[in-house]
């Protein structure tokens, strides 16, 4: 047992459902007790999703426990097949129902005898992997299933497209700024003259998966999701992959150069140097910002970085290499992939922190007292308490990570967004600097909030006690309304009864 107050990554079934519901026309069935289906709430609320989340919970209750779930699960799979006509139904248990040790694979086989849709049981261990690992695995599983199926049916196309093309792998629903990143990456590929063969899983149809081998290479922008799929495609078809996150000016250039290498190795003759030069010099403002007087004042400021592998590693490199900011420590909660992280950030920070315990992270922040934090919503919260500004760079997701406007983290527009994020996070530091120069803000204190003296009314002890229970931000308003009411009614002494009579009278 572990005492836990906060989790950086969700349970496995969330990862599986993120993949399933990212695809077009795929239905997820959760074999779970009532209330475990909050994935639907997250997707509907956080992503402001207009469509009903294609996930149904086949509810496990006492009766089901007594009788066994088989009938119910099979019925629900067949029912969703007729109601929604999905191409694929993915069945997943949750942590809870997985310990029932039922033969779900058998349920799936039985159901698929009567369905038009394909039916798959998500193959993850709910106690050994987290959301990110489960997502990575489920995507691989679905891809493998449809490649095998196409191979059996003889519909697999392995010949390459005539011109250079790419599969972008790992864009999912409920991913941190994924939709914006996807648009930016598509634009980048268009600028490079590379045709986007498929983006998976976001908005892809499972029927298209048989076309995956046609692309010249796979681009996996995020470390957490897509790696297993790319590996599988590489083993199966010798399809090369580029796994460099194009985040920040330097890494974006490195990613583009890697793409160039992969394309030219297959007979193309592309040279992207002029493009990189033009983007870095003229389109992105990031390199210029780094050389501007603003950024000079950030030199040597202390920062700490914490997040998932992708964003924490990229951010550490950007702060250190592109801004001259001193990263005291950089950390990740992807404990299962810690070696990769250590290698990535080596030389860009003093210390490395690998933990999924938010109190350890909080203590490390308090110990260092950095000028700015780049972390998750939890570090933002810690920062608020310590009065240290925090830029949010990674999941766990929050409604604020789904801005309506265009805010990619990747590509050249991403570099601009990152400059803004970094600069705004340090504003406090900049203000400090200006305050030192100009001698501080207006320091006159406000003595009276109101402009007139106290009223003629008296509050009885119980009235006052009740008033003090009202939250501070409305207490003044309640007090004013109550006194107004008392005056109108000719009451001179305000008791708790008067307080509530006033509330009803004015609806305050």
């Amino acid at each position: 047992m572990k005492l836990a107050y906060w989790m950086y990554a969700g349970p496995a079934h969330i990862g599986t459902l993120r993949i399933a519901s990212s695809f077009k026309n795929v239905h997820g069935i959760m074999h779970a007790p009532l209330g475990d289906d909050y994935f639907n709430v997250m997707r509907s609320m956080l992503e402001r999703e207009r469509n009903f989340t294609p996930v149904t919970a086949s509810i496990v209750d006492r009766h089901v426990l007594a009788r066994g779930s088989q009938e119910k699960v099979v019925d629900n799979i067949i029912r969703k097949d007729t109601e929604e006509h999905p191409d694929l139904i993915v069945l997943t248990p949750t942590c809870t129902s997985s310990i029932l040790q039922e033969d779900l694979q058998n349920f799936v086989q039985r159901a698929s005898l009567s369905t038009t849709a394909d039916v798959l049981l998500a193959d993850v261990n709910h106690y050994r992997v987290n959301e990110l690992q489960a997502a990575d695995r489920t995507l691989e599983q679905i891809v493998q299933f449809y490649i095998d199926k196409a191979r059996r049916q003889g519909t697999l196309v392995t010949s390459k497209t005539p011109t250079p093309s790419v599969n972008i792998i790992g864009i999912t629903t409920l991913g941190f700024h994924n939709q914006h990143d996807c648009r930016e990456l598509k634009q980048l590929m268009a600028d490079l003259g590379i045709q986007v063969n498929l983006v998976i899983p976001a908005a892809a149809s499972v029927h298209d998966l048989a076309r995956l081998p046609q692309a010249w290479f796979n681009l996996v922008p995020y470390r957490e999701i897509g790696g297993l799929t790319a590996q599988y495609l590489e083993t199966e078809f010798g399809q090369p992959s580029v796994r460099i996150t194009p985040m920040g000016v330097v890494e974006t250039a490195r990613c583009i150069r890697a793409i160039q290498g992969v394309l030219n190795a297959q007979g193309a003759t592309v040279d992207y140097e002029a493009f990189i030069e033009q983007q870095t010099r003229e389109v992105s403002q990031a390199a210029w910002f780094s050389r501007s007087i603003d950024c000079q004042n950030l030199t040597g400021k202390k920062a700490v970085v914490f997040g998932d592998n992708t964003h924490a590693a990229a951010m550490t490199k950007i702060l250190s290499r592109e801004m001259g900011i001193h990263v005291v420590w950089a950390g990740t909660y992807c404990k299962y992939d810690a070696d990769w992280f250590r290698a990535e950030v080596a030389g860009f920070c003093d210390e490395v922190l690998i933990t999924d315990d938010h109190t350890v992270v909080g203590d490390a922040i308090a110990r260092v007292e950095p000028a700015a934090i780049f972390g998750t919503q939890m570090e933002r919260h810690v920062g608020k308490r310590l009065n240290i500004p925090c830029g949010v760079i990674a999941a766990p997701i929050h409604i604020q990570d789904f801005p309506v406007g265009y805010r990619p983290f990747l590509g050249y527009e991403g570099t601009n967004q990152l400059v803004d994020l970094i600069y705004n996070s340090f504003t406090l530091g900049m203000e400090d600097h200006l305050l030192e120069i100009f001698g501080g803000h207006d320091t006159k204190e406000v003595i009276h909030k109101g402009l007139s003296a106290d009223s003629d009314l008296t509050w009885t002890a119980d009235g006052l006690a009740e008033l003090n229970k009202i939250p501070g931000f409305v207490r003044g308003k309640v007090k004013r309304n109550t006194e107004k009411f008392a005056r109108e009614q000719g009451i001179s002494e305000i008791t708790v009864e008067v307080l509530y009579a006033a509330k009803e009278a004015v609806g305050a």
Partner: protein
């Protein structure tokens, strides 16, 4: 579905696939209500992520709830439950020193048959902090019923008069009302009350609402001896055989049963104090139990309706569909029918016809008086079927869980989150306005957006 028997409510049980929050969500409001408590949810990552994410409960500097996250070793029984829980509870004692630790059992502890009730007394004796066990699991309960499991468990811990030296002094509400008064004044004031057996109210409400309802009863000369739960575990109300108890929430049937069977209390079955009609009926039933003639209640109700008139104009004739989520549905539907709305369907996760008998009777009476057909009550509804019915009926408002709100709005159907009624202050005369404030918000939003157009934002 719409076929209704003329004289009786039409109950259906779809036993469908429906969505509500997990009952462990009660932790979100109960840890705030009981200020000296610590809630330990014994479950998996799935439970933890729910509390953190869907409920949006943020961990503050001094958290008073936590997860005892079950790991593979716990599930496969390689680890000793008692030793593990002891380790965690000692840590909680050291860090927070609460007056009570509430263990919240989950689906997982049910399935692995962890004997929490057996472990608690031993551990309690060893660490010296009371441990209350509530099984707020999704196998047996829905959403707000989590509160029921906790209150039922705590009810067993309320002291008897012999265990307390001065029961009067323990009553925090009475102390508050008497705050700063001389002892003689207090005695004089006690003459304002009728002589009646002690009355304890149960149900977790925000403190201001507790005060309001206590004062409403004081106006009738009825003294509330205590509330379950109290603000502090150490101030739990005294309960003894023959005491009268009344609930304020419709989802507390287990607590009621515990009070009747284990504490030998008399339950006052009443509609719930939601809306002016319900509040009046609730007070009347309590008065009737004590043989007291209520004073000025009809006027009080009429006055409240008068104050709601601006909102009533907005809702009159509009239709509403309850998908079913928090078990407040019957009370809200009854109030909204009285407001002149039409109710298509009342979905509800669980229907205890005995505990809600008076509320159901008031619903029937309200329908008759308002000339409203008796609505269908659908227990354990199937959300997919409901969406088909909503599509056909095109109601003016759907009160629904959070998963369906945005998709319905995108299809031009106004919604209100049922969870808002769980967290808002809706009990008593004065707060009826807050219910209508919530109900009319989508309607007022629609009025404000007349100039926008674009009512449907998905292709058909």
């Amino acid at each position: 579905m719409t076929a209704t028997a003329p004289n009786a409510l039409n109950f259906e049980c779809e036993t469908g696939n429906y969505h509500t929050f997990c009952p462990i969500s009660c932790v979100a409001w109960l840890y705030q209500k009981i200020e000296d408590s610590f809630f330990l949810v014994i479950g998996t990552k799935t439970c933890g992520y729910f509390l953190q994410n869907a409920m949006g409960v943020m961990i503050f500097a001094e958290p008073r709830y936590a997860m005892a996250e079950l790991e593979e070793g716990d599930i496969s029984a390689q680890l000793n439950d008692y030793e593990e829980l002891k380790r965690l509870c000692l840590q909680i004692k050291r860090d927070r020193n609460p007056s009570v630790i509430v263990w919240i059992g989950t689906c997982t502890t049910e399935i692995i048959k962890m004997d929490l009730e057996g472990l608690a007394p031993k551990l309690e004796a060893q660490i010296g902090i009371p441990i209350v066990v509530a099984r707020a699991n999704g196998l047996d309960y829905a959403f707000t019923q989590g509160e029921d499991t906790v209150l039922a468990a705590i009810a067993a811990r309320c002291p008897t008069p012999t265990a307390v030296s001065d029961p009067e002094e323990r009553n925090p509400i009475q102390r508050l009302l008497n705050f700063g008064k001389k002892k003689e004044d207090v005695q004089a004031e006690s003459q304002q009350y009728h002589d009646h057996p002690p009355l304890v109210l149960f149900g977790s409400l925000p403190d201001p609402v507790v005060t309001q309802l206590t004062l409403e009863l004081k106006k009738q000369g009825i003294k509330v001896s205590g509330w379950l739960p109290a603000k502090r575990y150490t101030e739990l109300p005294v309960i003894d055989e023959g005491y009268y108890v009344a609930g304020v929430n419709p989802f507390l049937s287990r607590t009621a049963t515990t009070l009747i069977r284990r504490r030998k209390c008399q339950l006052i079955t009443a509609p719930f104090p939601i809306g002016p009609d319900g509040t009046r009926a609730w007070i009347e039933q309590i008065c009737a139990a004590f043989g007291i003639q209520p004073q000025g209640l009809a006027e009080r109700e009429a006055e409240t309706w008068e104050k709601l008139s601006d909102y009533l104009e907005l809702v009159r004739g509009k239709s509403v569909f309850f998908m079913g989520d928090n078990l407040l549905e019957i009370s809200l539907a009854r109030f909204l029918i009285r407001c002149g709305m039409r109710v298509h369907e009342i979905g509800i996760p669980y229907m205890d016809k005995r505990y809600q008998a008076a509320e159901l009777a008031l619903l029937t009476k309200t329908c008759t008086e308002m000339g409203h057909p008796l609505p269908t009550i659908v227990e354990k509804p199937d959300n997919y079927n409901q969406l088909q019915r909503i599509k056909a009926l095109q109601p003016d408002l759907v009160i629904t869980g959070m998963a369906h709100a945005n998709p319905l709005e995108a299809r031009g159907i106004s919604t209100k989150w049922s969870v808002e009624f769980t967290f808002a202050q809706i009990h008593g005369f004065g707060n009826a306005r807050d219910i209508l404030e919530l109900v009319t918000r989508p309607l007022r939003r629609n009025q404000a957006l007349v100039g926008l157009g674009w009512q449907k934002l998905v292709a058909n």
